[in-house]
């Protein structure tokens, strides 16, 4: 039976970003880590957040339309 000092899963999911950002005060960080050691579901949740962030980092940038580059170069030559 969890005691009052322990984080609940519902609290943990709201602290995930602060945790990953290194913004949790040490006592909270300790409680967070303790919760993770006993809760496989929250470990999965944390993994999913990390995977989400990694996926976001893989979104491709669009190529520059040749026309836009030409227009910029025309401006550049005028400016030069």
């Amino acid at each position: 039976m969890p005691n009052a000092e322990q984080l609940t899963c519902k609290e943990l999911v709201e602290l995930v970003t602060d945790y990953l950002e290194g913004a949790l005060p040490l006592p909270d960080r300790t409680r967070f880590d303790e919760h993770l050691t006993t809760c496989p579901y929250c470990r999965i949740y944390l993994d999913q957040m990390r995977q989400t962030i990694r996926t976001l980092g893989h979104l491709p940038d669009e190529a520059i339309p040749p026309k836009a580059l030409e227009a910029l170069l025309a401006h550049f030559r005028g400016w030069r």
Binding site: V13, I44, Q51
Partner: protein, 218 residues
């Protein structure tokens, strides 16, 4: 400090010095480096893609106008993106639209949205596991990279971001899509660290939820 390898890209600072000497190749390198990210951020504010592209073009003209006065005190990147954000704001005002800027919208004042639907947790009076998972998340697999990086999944994530409130979208775009630091994002958007974290948390939580629904449906 960036380690230079044999084919290292020139640093921004080198390109800026060359640009001040009117070096066209340096200008093209900078455009290629930042055009995609600029367009991505411009799309947060613009009501159409054409408008976003125009704002990006105006931003580059702003760079040429201002480059003589640019000192290396701030990074070129943050200076460049501040030009974009200012242009987008001016344009929104001219068109009589209010653009929700995170600088104006204090995250703390938004209605709070829980990271996970409350019904997925047991009640506060549950005898053994109060407020623990009732419907726990399912693992996306030990090596989920393959399914996470499919075109289908990436498109889903694009759509999830596009549907976010603009202030959330600004932050997640710069932090997670472009890989900026929290300091850089706060600097360009003019928001506090705390506000930045709250917006990032909400945005990430929503995108995770979209991915979860997608994988659970499979």
């Amino acid at each position: 400090m960036t380690t230079h390898t044999k084919h290292a890209e020139p640093e921004d600072a080198e390109l800026i010095d060359a640009l001040k000497q009117r070096d066209e190749a340096a200008f093209v390198r900078l455009v290629q480096r930042y055009q995609g990210p600029l367009l991505r951020l411009a799309l947060v504010y613009a009501r159409s893609r054409a408008v976003a592209e125009e704002v990006v073009q105006e931003t580059w003209l702003g760079v040429l106008e201002g480059i003589e006065r640019f000192e290396h005190r701030s990074s070129f990147k943050t200076w460049l993106f501040r030009i974009l954000v200012n242009r987008a704001r001016t344009r929104g005002e001219r068109e009589g639209r209010t653009i929700p800027f995170s600088a104006l919208g204090d995250a703390a004042l938004d209605p709070a949205e829980p990271a996970v639907a409350p019904e997925r947790f047991l009640g506060p009076t549950h005898p053994q596991w109060p407020l623990h998972w009732a419907v726990p998340p399912k693992s996306w697999g030990a090596s989920p990279e393959e399914q996470l990086l499919t075109r289908e999944t990436l498109e889903l994530v694009e759509h999830a971001i596009a549907a976010l409130p603009p202030a959330w979208r600004e932050v997640i775009t710069l932090r997670d899509v472009e890989g900026w630091t929290a300091d850089e994002v706060c600097n360009v958007l003019g928001i506090s660290e705390t506000n930045q974290r709250v917006l990032l948390h909400r945005a990430r939580s929503r995108v995770r939820g979209a991915l979860e629904r997608h994988f659970d449906a499979d």
